[in-house]
C-alpha cells in the first residue's frame, strides 16, 4: 500500500467526522509517513507498520461517537455510538445490543405501568359519577388519589432512572471499546 492509498482510504473512512477533526488526524499520519521516509523507509514499509486503515478508523470513530453522545445526549447520538461500537466486532452484537434491548424492554414496561397508574382514576371517576353508597365513594376517591400519587412518584423516578441508565450505558460502551481496541 502506498502513502497515497493509505491516506485516501483513511480519509474516506473518516468522512463522518467534522473536517477539523479529520484533517487533524490525517496530518498525524502524514507526519508519520514523512518522518518514516526521512529514515529511509519505503512508503510500503511504513503503511505495513501502521496496519490497516480500517482498524485505525474504527478506533477513531468509536472513540469519537461516544464522546459525542456524552456531550450531547440524544437518541440519535446514542444510536450512532452503539452502531460504531457494534461495528467493532460481532462480539458486540451479543454484549452491547443484548443488554441495551433488555434495558429498553424493562424501561418500556415501567413506563406502561406508570401510565396505567395515572390513567386508572379516569375509569374510577367515570364510576364515581353514578350514585353509590357513600363508603364506596370514599374508597373510590382514596384509591384514585393513591393511584395518581403512585403514578406521579413513579414518573419522577423513571425519568431519573432513564437518565442514569443513559449514562451507565455510555460508560459500558466506553469500557467495551477499551476492551476491543488496542490490540
Amino acid at each position: 500500500m502506498t502513502r497515497r492509498e493509505f491516506m485516501d482510504e483513511l480519509n474516506a473512512l473518516l468522512s463522518a467526522l467534522p473536517d477539523k477533526e479529520r484533517l487533524d488526524i490525517l496530518a498525524d499520519y502524514t507526519e508519520h509517513f514523512l518522518l518514516g521516509m526521512k529514515q529511509g523507509k519505503t512508503e510500503h514499509e511504513i503503511a505495513e507498520g501502521l496496519g490497516s486503515p480500517k482498524l485505525v478508523a474504527r478506533e477513531l470513530l468509536a472513540g469519537y461517537r461516544i464522546d459525542q453522545a456524552q456531550s450531547n445526549a440524544s437518541v440519535g447520538n446514542m444510536t450512532r455510538a452503539i452502531v460504531a461500537t457494534i461495528s467493532l466486532g460481532f462480539f458486540n452484537l451479543v454484549f452491547v445490543l443484548g443488554p441495551f434491548l433488555g434495558l429498553i424492554g424493562i424501561l418500556m414496561g415501567l413506563y406502561a405501568m406508570t401510565a396505567a397508574l395515572l390513567v386508572a382514576p379516569v375509569g374510577i371517576f367515570l364510576d364515581y359519577g353514578i350514585p353509590a353508597p357513600s363508603q364506596e365513594r370514599l374508597f373510590l376517591l382514596f384509591s384514585s388519589m393513591v393511584s395518581v400519587g403512585l403514578g406521579g412518584m413513579f414518573a419522577i423516578g423513571l425519568l431519573r432512572l432513564t437518565k442514569w441508565l443513559y449514562r451507565q450505558f455510555l460508560r459500558y460502551l466506553q469500557f467495551n471499546v477499551k476492551m476491543i481496541r488496542g490490540k
Binding site: 488526524i25 498525524d28 502524514t30 507526519e31 518522518l35 501502521l50 496496519g51 485505525v56 476491543i180 481496541r181
Partner: protein, 111 residues
Amino acid sequence: MLMNVQFKKGVLELCVLVLTAKQDRYGYELVASISEKFHISEGTVYPLLRRLTQEGFFTTYLAESQEGPPRKYYQLTNRGRQYMNDLVLEWRIFNRGVNEIIEEGLGYDKA
C-alpha cells in the same frame, strides 16, 4: 483473549506516558521507541494519543524542525503525570507478583 487485548492496550498506554515523562515527544518518536521493543500495530498509537489528549493527560503543540515537516509534540500534564505514576506502581506490583510465581513454578533454586 480479551484479557490479552486489554493487557496490551494497558501496556501501550503505560509506555507512551512513561516515554513523555522527561521530555516532550512527537508521535513518530513514540511509535519508533515502542515498536523497537515489541510488536504493535503502529497505526493504533495515534488514536491512543488522541484519547489521552482528550482525557487531559497530554497537551500538544506543533514545532518546526530544521528538516522535514513540523512535528506535533505531546507534553504530559500534571494529571497525566499522576495517572502515569499510578500505572507504574500498578505495573511494578503486577510484575513482581508474576516473576515470583514464575520462579516458584519453574523451581529455580538460588544455589
